[in-house]
């Protein structure tokens, strides 16, 4: 049951209506049942993993809080980390490490006879594991007190709008919302419903159409397409993955809002970024925040020498790359981003106050162009099945090759235009000199209403047949 399906619409409307008819206490119970039903619709067997994670962290949270001795507290935290990360490792990375080990040993001429295991990857395991872990970590750091109610905690871990692909919510920003009384407000409902619509449009109209008609055919047969098509497909993938993931996040935030909850933002127009550091302040914010708080800062953050900082950044981005999937392409993608972040810091230090530095400060368009070129080029590694296919793609990009030119349907160009409008609005919001709230002016409101209706019409006609899974569900 994906958000962009009739089943979800039916499920959500039913939950929404019943939810607002119940008392707060029952609302939480209902959310928990609905969340488990939602997850069981994918694969009921993996519900046990969520339940294990929930029970472990709830128990460990109390134990850490009750314990005064630092060593024992650390021991409890370690036990939570070991259990959660073992589950994650087994289901997500076991085969990857077996494969890599085998490849390495074979390279040394050693036959291992190791075989990969037949493991199914549970949907959204990286998301809910991290969410549950953040609870124990925050209690250990003294930023949170354990929650008494196991049911409320279980509802936090399994909250269906963000269960399978985020945003990654921290316990301290969500648990109190579950405890607070909720009242239906039309204003919040309006915000949520329109947010959901926007997300659905991004996912179905922009991401799915770009994927089906442009990105997938070109990435499947790199050698068979012209250099121009490869550039277009690379940009297409950049737009697709953004529309897909930000679309999901918007649907999650919108669904939660309609239920009276506030989830953190996950994107802030990443393709307006004028440096790689800026890009990571706009892309997958909740994941970046998680790794910053629990990995980068734990390693020492930037409160150390430049080389140590370089090391911290690289390790954090490598782990974040690996978080995306069990493949060397993700690790390399993360590593390269880390390298670029570090180089940006070094460059800023070197050019600070110089003529070049002053020029670059003014020439935002040049910084933007260089940043976006780097981001797009790195998406190739992210999208490719292996490093060999990534290298093939790069070769096709920079060595002019003849090949097929796809006859793209009009809907692909419309998807690009819709994306440009979306980011254009973001740009105008960021650069508008008039910061007053003119979006609520009457004529503007009518225009906005027209745009939302146009989205609905576009969805009615621009929905590719069949369901396309969200890209981030695999992570």
């Amino acid at each position: 049951m994906t958000f962009a399906s009739k089943e979800y619409l039916f499920f959500f409307v039913t939950v929404l209506v019943l939810y607002w008819l119940l008392s707060r206490r029952r609302q939480n119970h209902m959310l928990l049942v609905a969340s488990y039903v939602f997850y069981a619709a994918w694969d009921w067997r993996f519900l046990s993993l969520i339940i294990i994670s929930t029970l472990v962290d709830h128990y460990v949270g109390h134990k850490i809080c009750d314990e005064k001795r630092t060593r024992i507290r650390k021991l409890w935290l370690t036990s939570s980390l070991v259990i959660n990360l073992s589950i994650l490792f087994y289901f997500k990375y076991c085969n990857f490490f077996i494969d890599s080990l085998q490849g390495m040993l074979q390279g040394l001429g050693i036959e291992t006879g190791l075989q990969t295991l037949n493991i199914i990857l549970p949907v959204g395991i990286s998301f809910y594991t991290f969410q549950s872990l953040s609870y124990s970590l925050d209690i250990y750091r003294g930023k949170l007190t354990p929650h008494k109610s196991l049911l409320t905690f279980a509802t936090f871990v399994a909250f269906f709008p963000q269960l399978v692909a985020g945003p990654i919510v921290r316990a301290r920003e969500f648990l109190y919302q579950l405890d607070a009384p909720r009242k239906f407000h039309w204003a919040t409902f309006e915000d949520g419903a329109l947010r959901f619509l926007k997300g659905l449009f991004c996912k179905v109209f922009i991401a799915d159409n770009l994927g089906i008609y442009l990105v997938d055919p070109v990435f499947v047969d790199t050698a068979g397409h012209s250099t121009g098509m490869l550039w277009l497909a690379m940009i297409g993938y950049g737009v697709q993955i953004y529309a897909d993931f930000s679309g999901y996040s918007n649907m999650a935030i919108g669904s939660a809002k309609m239920l009276g909850f506030s989830l953190p933002e996950n994107f802030n127009f990443p393709y307006l970024a004028t440096s790689i550091v800026d890009f990571w302040r706009r892309w997958h914010l909740t994941m970046s925040r998680f790794f910053r708080d629990y990995v980068y800062i734990s390693l020492g953050g930037n409160q150390c020498g430049p080389w140590r900082n370089f090391f911290n950044v690289t390790v954090t981005t490598l782990i974040s790359g690996l978080w995306h999937g069990a493949n060397w392409t993700f690790v390399i993608w993360g590593g390269l981003h880390g390298l670029l972040v570090s180089l940006t810091h070094v460059w800023q230090r070197l050019t600070d106050g110089s003529v070049i530095g002053q020029f670059l400060t003014k020439a935002w368009w040049l910084r933007w162009a260089i940043t976006q070129l780097a981001v797009m080029l790195l998406w190739v590694v992210f999208r490719s099945d292996s490093m060999v296919s990534a290298v093939d793609f790069y070769t096709g990009l920079f060595v002019v090759q003849q090949g097929a030119v796809l006859a793209l349907p009009a809907i692909v160009w419309l998807a690009f235009v819709a994306f440009l409008i979306e980011h254009g609005v973001g740009w105008s919001q960021e650069h508008s000199s008039d910061k007053s709230d003119n979006v609520s002016a009457r004529p503007v409101m009518w225009v906005r209403a027209g745009v939302y209706v146009a989205m609905m019409v576009a969805l009615t006609h621009g929905m590719p047949s069949g369901q396309t899974p969200f890209i981030y569900f695999q992570f």
Partner: protein
């Protein structure tokens, strides 16, 4: 309602405007535009590009079927495509036969692709193929999407000349819907490979009148004359009118979707379309009479699809196959293929192809054996049974 609207205006002014624009546009698209815009434009949108392409190919005589002024379409003659082979008459046979009789028994098959055997079965794996022998000529004129009205016309204009001893006619799983239809895309919009025109009979005030069609009416596509004829004579034209009102906007489309689902479910509690059933019986009777006048016996095969074969709760509520068969069996020689399949003890996958409509070769063989042993086919097939050489 007023209070709700007031609340919405105060707390959610944007949502209110979205609802207003949306509903206004829905009403405009559903009720104003169809009377302002030319129907031709809608028809252009209604027909998928693939259907237009298929029409051009069809009119140019390319593909498995070719246009026919009497029947609408018939099999292409002398075609050899993979498993599919037709002779100079457009029949699927296992040997070459002349039109003139030469002392051997002759059995003709007519009906839809279920009789024809479809693309996946070779000529020898069709029902007719399993019956063919040195003593018996079997010619399979089964043609994709042919209905009982077309079978009758086909017999009148072409098949009669072959002077068969026996004519085996397939009754489709739904043999009545197509009798009210002139243009396939109106009844089956997803049938993009066969956007053809078919003749139909209209039974009004005790008179059976034939509405002939000319495939050339499809050129150019669309044209006002065609739309006018369809509006007058195709019972499914209303679907196209509904398309004009409901296809373009999300709310009307959703309402139409729900209406379709509801009508599909409610059909389970409704009786069958008596007028169409009566027309079917009239056509069968006419076929029997005209064939008998030429010395030909007719046997009908009531052919179920997988859903009708399997049964289930829907069939318990409304068994259209069983009801129709019970009625037809009283008056006509009909072989119950569903009973045959069920008694065989075979599973659905052994009998039906993946499309859950067409039969596997083993099922065709089962039907051929039943035909051979049936009293309904009299001595025609019995006498040949001894020498039947089956592959």
């Amino acid at each position: 309602m007023f209070r709700f609207w007031q609340r919405l205006s105060l707390d959610a002014p944007l949502l209110k405007r979205v609802l207003l624009v949306w509903i206004g546009l829905e009403l405009c698209v559903a009720f104003i535009l169809p009377s302002v815009l030319p129907t031709r434009w809608y028809f252009d949108l209604y027909l998928p590009d693939k259907a237009v392409e298929s029409t051009h190919k069809f009119l140019a005589g390319e593909g498995y079927l070719k246009p026919d002024v009497n029947v609408g379409w018939v099999n292409q003659s002398n075609l050899h495509e993979h498993h599919w082979q037709t002779d100079q008459f457009g029949a699927r046979t296992t040997a070459t036969y002349a039109m003139e009789r030469n002392g051997r028994g002759r059995v003709l098959f007519a009906g839809s692709s279920m009789i024809n055997g479809g693309h996946l079965a070779s000529n020898a794996e069709t029902i007719s193929g399993f019956l063919a022998s040195n003593e018996l000529e079997t010619m399979n004129f089964g043609t994709m999407l042919h209905e009982m009205d077309q079978v009758l016309i086909y017999y009148r204009h072409y098949l009669k000349q072959f002077q068969p001893d026996l004519l085996v006619v397939g009754i489709n799983p739904d043999p009545v819907s197509g009798l009210k239809n002139l243009y396939i895309p109106l009844r089956r919009p997803k049938e993009v490979y066969m956007p053809y025109l078919k003749p139909r009979f209209e039974y009004k005030l005790g008179v059976l009148a034939l509405l002939s069609v000319d495939p050339q009416w499809l050129s150019p596509l669309p044209n006002q004359q065609l739309l006018h004829i369809l509006g007058e004579h195709d019972a499914y034209y209303g679907r196209f009118e509904r398309y004009q009102r409901t296809h373009f906007m999300p709310l009307s489309r959703s309402v139409d979707y729900l209406r379709k689902q509801f009508s599909r479910v409610s059909k389970l509690w409704q009786g069958s379309d008596e007028n169409a059933e009566h027309l079917l019986e009239l056509l069968m009777q006419l076929l029997i009479n005209e064939a008998a006048a030429a010395g030909t016996k007719v046997v009908f095969l009531a052919m179920p699809d997988a859903a009708q074969f399997r049964g289930g709760w829907k069939q318990k509520l409304h068994d259209d196959y069983g009801d129709r068969l019970a009625r037809l069996k009283k008056r006509y020689p009909v072989i119950d293929v569903r009973k045959l399949f069920r008694e065989s003890g075979w599973r659905q996958k052994q009998l039906f192809q993946a499309d859950r409509v067409h039969y596997q070769p083993a099922a065709n063989e089962l039907i051929a054996d039943a035909l051979r042993q049936s009293d309904l086919s009299c001595h025609i097939l019995h006498s040949c049974q001894q020498q039947a050489v089956r592959q």
